[in-house]
């Protein structure tokens, strides 16, 4: 065993990268859930994003366009969910699960000719001065741009929910859709917008895996990241700032367990891997009563 082999600076730096895809997907889902909608199809939207990202990036030769395509792909899939749950009033749990199944099939079909494709390079940003700061520089300021896009999105959602009027309305819709409707807000329109935002974010998260982290396209390559994103939202108690923490915790455990293994520490991998989920449950218990948006998962129909 040689724990000194673990370089804490590099560990923290790779933790930021490992956390990015789940953070992107989770921040989208957070907005969706704050609007009172539970979309369990995150995995399906992420994998579709991963495929669309590769298709667009490969064919245009531009990684940014790849991300744009991924966001569009995720959004398109979430639109299906929006139509079904908001207009056809289908059950959100069942529809979300069906969306995941559909997304897995769709992405495999779309991506079947891209297994050998390699996406265009997506270089790291070398932020002058900041990246030269000792310790902090390599940890925080020497990454590819999407890492910062993720952080900016989290900050943006935080500010949106806390300070903007639209954010207040969105929260009101999520807490009590009947009341929000009575006040004259368009519950369904707001929810659809939230769902689309969630889909776009999930798509970005998926594309981060296929374009940056791996980078290649393989069927089913998100391998459960969408479900982890769902867990993070809960872990965060539907709060953007805590969501950051959650993403780092979940991303960190993966990186940490690999580091400990490489350092020769005999760890029971399965038990370490399940620890963040147990932590999530504990957090849920400690947070306890009624922190979830009041109307989460409930179907809304105006004429009721």
């Amino acid at each position: 065993m040689d724990l000194s082999a673990i370089n804490p600076i590099l560990l923290l730096a790779s933790l930021m990268v490992a956390a990015t895809p789940i953070m992107l997907a989770a921040i989208g889902e957070l907005v969706v859930e704050r609007a009172g909608v539970l979309n369990l199809g995150v995995e399906g939207m992420m994998i579709t994003g991963a495929a669309c990202g590769m298709i667009f990036a490969y064919n245009t030769g531009n990684a940014w366009l790849g991300f744009a395509g991924a966001a569009a792909g995720g959004m398109a899939l979430s639109f299906l969910f929006a139509i079904l749950t908001q207009y056809f009033l289908s059950n959100q749990v069942a529809t979300g699960l069906a969306l995941t199944l559909f997304g897995l099939g769709l992405s495999a079909l779309l991506g079947q000719n891209y297994a050998e494709a390699r996406p265009p390079a997506f270089p790291k940003m070398d932020i002058p001065i900041l990246s030269d700061i000792p310790v902090l520089g390599p940890i925080a300021f020497n990454h590819d741009p999407m890492v910062y896009v993720g952080l900016i999105l989290v900050a943006g959602v935080w500010a949106f929910l806390k300070f903007s009027r639209a954010g207040l309305v969105l929260r009101a819709v999520g807490e009590n859709h009947e009341a929000a409707h009575a006040l004259g807000y368009h519950v369904i329109r707001i929810r659809i917008l939230a769902i689309l935002f969630g889909g776009a974010c999930a798509g970005l998260g998926g594309a981060y895996i296929s374009l940056v982290r791996v980078p290649q396209w393989t069927e089913g390559m998100t391998a459960g990241a969408g479900w982890i994103a769902l867990a993070i939202v809960v872990f965060a108690g539907w709060k953007p700032v805590r969501l950051l923490l959650g993403a780092y915790l979940f991303g960190g455990v993966t990186v940490l367990q690999l580091n400990l293994q490489a350092a020769g520490l005999a760890i029971p991998v399965e038990y370490l891997s399940m620890s963040p989920y147990i932590a999530t449950i504990l957090v849920l218990v400690i947070l306890s009563a009624g922190r979830a948006p009041g109307s989460l998962g409930k179907t809304f129909h105006a004429s009721r």
């Binding site: 079947q112 297994a115 982290r213 791996v214 993966t254 990186v255 020769g264």
Partner: protein, 360 residues
């Protein structure tokens, strides 16, 4: 049913017509393949499928290929095999360890159909087992790794802790130490055969901890991409040549080549000479291919590795030749002794010098 068969065989029939070969009077022999992953996974399944296609081409119109991808290991596999039998398959290859018991079960029900199970240890009257001696290739990788490393730290991405993978680690380690007594191995298990994201993470972690050579027993090219980004790190292709990552970081590879075996076994069924066998072939028989050693490797090391390859192929050298001690220091093979296949097949301990435990 007739019509559907015609539809399905349309392409093969057309091909035979193009080649000018007369269509045989009798029905083509249907050969089924059960795959554990998608056929474009870039690794294990893709190579089985390539080899299957090669076999089909080899026989022209005389053989028709049926396959099913991403079949879960369990009752679903049994059903898929049964369906293949009903579709008229007379020979079925099941290409993952987890299909062992299902294969034995289905085979018992259809005694006139021949089954070939990959990487298992059970056989029956109508079930053969076949596997490749990948550890022979690992010996060459270990030699190259030991020569090429500057940090003396070699990373190894393990997939699932089964004897095949443990054999590979041991073989690579023994030969790395032989040429460079200072090397140490850092082993990371990801408990999956193919998970690009995890493989990328594992490779990055190993690189961060100072490894400058990465060996992998997982299927994706993600570790190569990570190594390329890091710069001075060497990797080896797994299952596929992964030549697109050469000459750096990929300096050589182990290539799965099942085609000769598939052709041989299919021919045996066509000739009516098929019998149950337990095949374990290596470099000599061509089942394990060693990819071109790239220009990043100095000539002398390349020559050394190639000499070892040829010696193994010729049967002059066995990678597990004593003296070798077990991890705890107790003797395993005495000077000049060679490991027997039985022990190798169930190998579940590390040799002396490797740190850490095999997960259990």
């Amino acid at each position: 049913m007739k019509r559907r068969t015609l539809l399905a065989t349309g392409t093969t029939a057309a091909m035979a017509a193009v080649l000018g070969a007369p269509l045989r009077a009798q029905e083509p022999l249907k050969v089924g393949f059960v795959y554990v992953g998608p056929i474009n996974d870039g690794g294990w399944t893709q190579h089985h499928h390539h080899s299957a296609k090669e076999m089909e081409e080899h026989f022209g119109g005389a053989v028709e290929l049926l396959y099913q991808e991403s079949v879960p290991e369990g009752p679903d596999a049994e059903r898929v095999m049964t369906q293949m039998v009903r579709q008229g398959c007379k020979l079925i290859f099941t290409t993952s360890f987890g299909y062992m018991d299902p294969t034995i079960n289905v085979a018992a029900r259809f005694p006139d159909v021949k089954f070939e199970h990959a990487t298992g240890y059970k056989t029956a009257e109508n079930v053969s087992a076949y596997s490749a001696r990948f550890y022979e290739g690992r010996a060459i990788q270990g030699t190259l790794a030991g020569r090429m490393t500057k940090s003396n730290k070699i990373g190894y991405i393990g997939s699932v802790p089964i004897p095949e993978v443990v054999r590979g680690i041991n073989s690579a380690f023994i030969h790395a130490r032989k040429v460079n007594p200072d090397v140490e191995f850092k082993i990371v298990w990801i408990f999956e055969w193919l998970n690009p994201a995890k493989e990328a993470d594992a490779a990055k972690v190993l690189i961060e901890q100072g490894c400058d050579v990465i060996l992998q027993h997982t299927d994706s090219t993600a570790p190569h991409a990570a190594a390329k980004e890091a710069g001075n790190v060497y990797t080896f292709g797994q299952a596929a040549d992964m030549a697109e990552f050469g000459p750096m970081p990929r300096i050589s590879s182990i290539i799965d080549n099942w085609a000769p075996y598939y052709i041989e076994r299919t021919q045996a069924v066509l000739d009516g000479t098929w019998t149950s066998v337990n095949t374990w072939d290596g470099i000599g028989a061509g089942m394990v291919g060693i990819g071109e050693i790239s220009s990043a490797v100095p000539e002398e090391y390349k020559a050394e590795a190639e000499a070892m390859r040829d010696a193994i192929a010729a049967g002059d050298y066995h990678p597990f030749t004593g003296p070798i001690n077990k991890q705890d220091g107790s003797p395993w093979l005495a000077e000049g002794d060679v490991a027997d296949d039985g022990t190798l097949a169930g190998l579940s301990f590390y040799v002396e010098g490797i740190e850490g435990d095999i997960p259990s």
